[in-house]
Amino acid sequence: MAYSEDELKKELKDQEYKYGFTSNIASEVIPKGLNEDVVRLISTKKNEPQWLLDFRLKAFAHWKTMVEKRWAHVSYPTIDFQNISYYAAPKGKKEVSWDEVDPEMKATMDKLGISMDEQKALSGVAVDFVFDSVSVKTSFKEKLGELGVIFCSFSEAVAEHPELVKKYLGSVVPSTDNFYAALNSAVFSDGSFCYIPKGVRCPMELSTYFRINEANTGQFERTLLIADENSYVSYLEGCTAPMRDENQLHAAVVELISLDGAEIKYSTVQNWYPGDKDGKGGIYNFVTKRGICYTGSKISWTQVETGSAVTWKYPSCILKGDNSIGEFYSVAVTNHYQQADTGTKMIHLGKNTKSTIISKGISAGFSNNSYRGLVQINKNATNARNFTQCDSLLMSDHCGAHTFPYIEVKNSTAKIEHEATTSKIGEDQIFYCNQRGISTEKAINLIVNGYCKDVLNKLPMEFAVEAQKLLEISLEGSVG
């Protein structure tokens, strides 16, 4: 299809960030600022039991003693934690049925392409929708309930399944883990909770959609996913935010527990607002994601990172049980002035544990994209195996691509391989495409898609299509 240049430009302009709208929904926002009272207020608003308030207060007390570490290869101004509102919720009491959901909210969901009706009918994906601080609607709850699968908002889980939440909350990411995890533990507002009972293979993909709407708020959600023995679940996560000139903070915590023989597949398409082409605005995405694998179990992280002004994220696996498997597949794209420092940690504790890391970074414009990863083979992890491949693609002469792998081996039976390459798209490859009538822009898309294929293939189908589109949009206009 032949584009005229003007058409292409127009399209690019429109496509820049199509989720940048703001929804006009009345919401309740608590005043800015952070102190113990705010933590108590959040807890009270959510009618939380005493133990959870204690958990928050303990985390907050610890957070106050912590200093923000700046080792990541990103730079951003100091965040004023007193200038953020820690709780924002759409007004009104919680809707019970789909029909009662605020029409404006429905419209938002439609725009985001997650119309629940449509999803119900067609794709069979159960969705939990988190809008600003609270979970709005979870679909397919009844159907999942028949199998014993619990999939609900975090607050519901606290009310209805306190024993599970109490047992596992903070067990993988302790409230004292790092600066942003501690902050999250103190002020987290809502999130998703999921429990797959023993031996159950979850029949549909579970999905959470996160949306920041309100200005000057931070989003601090928490996901807790427990796959009991020999169960299986595939979980998707998507995120968007309006276009705003100021930076907003998103500090989430995700904990995965994969008990004996279970398998969790966790996929993320992160598309928070990345800021405009001059680097103004955008989300600071400081996320702690970690999973623990017991005997014979498996956790697979797949992520497509295209959004956020600053990303700081290391989905990790603790391979505690023997024969457990950890996987990490990532595509991280940065354009304009975006900065990403992302990667994974594979901590091998059990025998015969295996891990695979495939990371594909693409940097364009003035962005900086870093892979930072740790592979640690501990003393008792005999016959551990790791394979790591990190490739970086550079699309302009002002961007940076960096690799910081840490490889720590304390066992002589371990086999560790790591390789990384950095290069740009070959002119011969583009020439080859041009020769066959493919425009440069399209040739680049083609090559980038091929380059990311290893990772995109790991995504569930609907997500793979979305991710592919996202890649195109993120990179359009980046090669001149």
Partner: protein, 448 residues
């Protein structure tokens, strides 16, 4: 050192440094500095004394590295800083045990960080200046002003700053324009007693179109708990060739922190080969600034750890200009409770287009108590480059051992054969035959 800090510090001026808050006194750091109290530098010219003063300001602003210091993450300095040292001149009768068999070279002897003229054997060559550094400081003032201490300032490294401030003596070699050194130079660093602190300082300058090969070996007679904090500055001129071979072979409980600052000019060729056979704690900091086009840089390293050895190699190759190549390979064989650390960093600055940089680290662990930490890093700001790194940690291939066994080779010999092949491959770039043979013999002795 943090990647940002590295880029930033270049532009740091002395005044800025002095404004840095002076770190609160640390008893261990003070104790270390106390060692140098008796040293007297009053014979040196004012220019050199000022350099030492600048370094003192740097020391005041730097903290003793801890496990939280990224650049020292895998190396604990407790062993070094918990001891008391002395700076003394020493004597030995013969250097025979430290010579490399069949090597025809100029011999320069440094004992406890001081130049020893009697034991040195140098053949004079026209156009080549060779002397102790202290002598050069008086005689070759003009040349030293443009070279000495030029690339070691404000590097944000405490031990480098300590050497800047308190170095005793060392070797100055200047190969004049268009000169080719006829024989290699072999510098022997010897420590003689217990608790010696030796601060060697060398300066090697290869002028335009010159060529030179240098060997530096670090050895000791007896004596334990010595600490060598050596620094070498190497300046490779236009079209020049410089090969630097470093042999670290100190027995018993001895500590080494060794820093090389290399600066490459246009079309130059620099090769460094580091072989570490022993060392309770060895830390090599190698920084190569490739500040002109069409340079070639080769870095090779072999480390063989046993007992409680801790061998740490940190390298930085900083590509600042386009059209340069660098190749790096470090290999380790770790036995017993030894630890090997490799941290290689390749920087490619924004203007250094068409850079090819390769980096490789392979480690074999022979024992369950051995530890390998590897951190190959790439930091790339230019797009038209080819850069890659690879890192593997593993053990001898069982199938290969089986193959050899099925042909009548005993298991032990088969394993040794494999290790020999793995280790010997590393230092292929050593171009001095006698040295090459010497290294191979050392490997064979270890794995026989």
């Amino acid at each position: 050192m943090h990647q940002f800090e590295y880029l930033k510090m270049e532009n740091k001026k002395l005044e800025e440094l002095q404004q840095v808050i002076v770190q609160p006194s640390n008893p261990k750091k003070d104790q270390l500095l106390e060692t140098f109290k008796s040293l007297d530098y009053s014979v040196e010219g004012e220019y050199y004394q000022n350099l030492r003063k600048e370094a003192l300001a740097e020391i005041a602003a730097l903290e003793l590295p801890t496990s939280g210091t990224e650049f020292w993450k895998y190396t604990r300095l407790g062993k070094i800083v918990n001891k008391k040292y002395q700076v003394v001149k020493g004597k030995i009768d013969s250097i025979q045990p430290f010579l490399i068999p069949n090597l025809d070279a100029n011999i320069i002897v440094l004992i406890n960080g001081f130049y020893n003229a009697e034991l040195s054997a140098i053949t004079e060559q026209d156009g080549i200046v060779i002397s102790s550094l202290s002598e050069a400081k008086q005689k070759n003032v003009e040349q030293l002003k443009s070279t000495f201490n030029q690339y070691t300032k404000n590097r944000n490294e405490l031990f480098l700053a300590i050497n800047n401030a308190f170095h005793t003596d060392g070797v100055y070699i200047q190969i004049g324009k268009n000169k080719i050194a006829e024989k290699p130079y072999h510098i022997i660093n010897i420590t003689t007693h217990d608790n010696i602190l030796a601060q060697t300082r060398n300066l090697f300058v290869a002028d335009k179109n010159s060529s030179v090969k240098i060997i530096e070996s670090f050895v000791n007679i007896h004596g334990k708990e010595n600490f060598i904090n050596s620094v070498a500055e190497l300046i490779v001129g236009e079209n020049a060739f410089l090969e630097y071979n470093k042999i670290q072979d100190k027995n018993e409980e001895n500590y080494t922190i060794s820093t090389e600052q290399v600066y490459q000019n246009a079309n130059s060729n620099f090769t460094i080969n580091t072989a570490t056979f022993n060392g309770a704690l060895v830390r090599n900091n190698l920084t190569i600034e490739v500040d002109a086009s069409n340079c070639e840089t080769n870095l090779s390293g072999l480390y063989l750890g046993k007992n409680n050895d801790h061998i740490d190699n940190h390298t930085i190759v900083d590509h600042k200009k386009p059209h340069c190549n660098s190749n790096e390979i470090y290999r380790g064989v770790l036995d017993d409770s030894s630890t090997g650390v490799f941290n290689g960093k390749v920087f490619v600055r924004q203007h250094a287009q068409k850079t090819n940089a390769f980096q490789k680290n392979n480690t074999i662990l022979l024992s369950d108590d051995a530890v390998s930490n590897s951190k190959p890093e790439l930091e790339i700001y230019a797009d038209d480059v080819k850069c890659s790194h690879g890192s593997t940690t593993g053990q001898i291939d069982e199938e290969a051992v089986f193959y050899l066994q099925s042909r009548g080779v005993s298991r032990k010999s088969a394993i040794n054969l494999m290790i020999n092949a793995f280790a010997k491959d590393t230092l292929e770039k050593v171009s001095i035959d006698a040295l090459h043979n010497y290294i191979n013999t050392k490997i064979e002795e270890r794995f026989a």
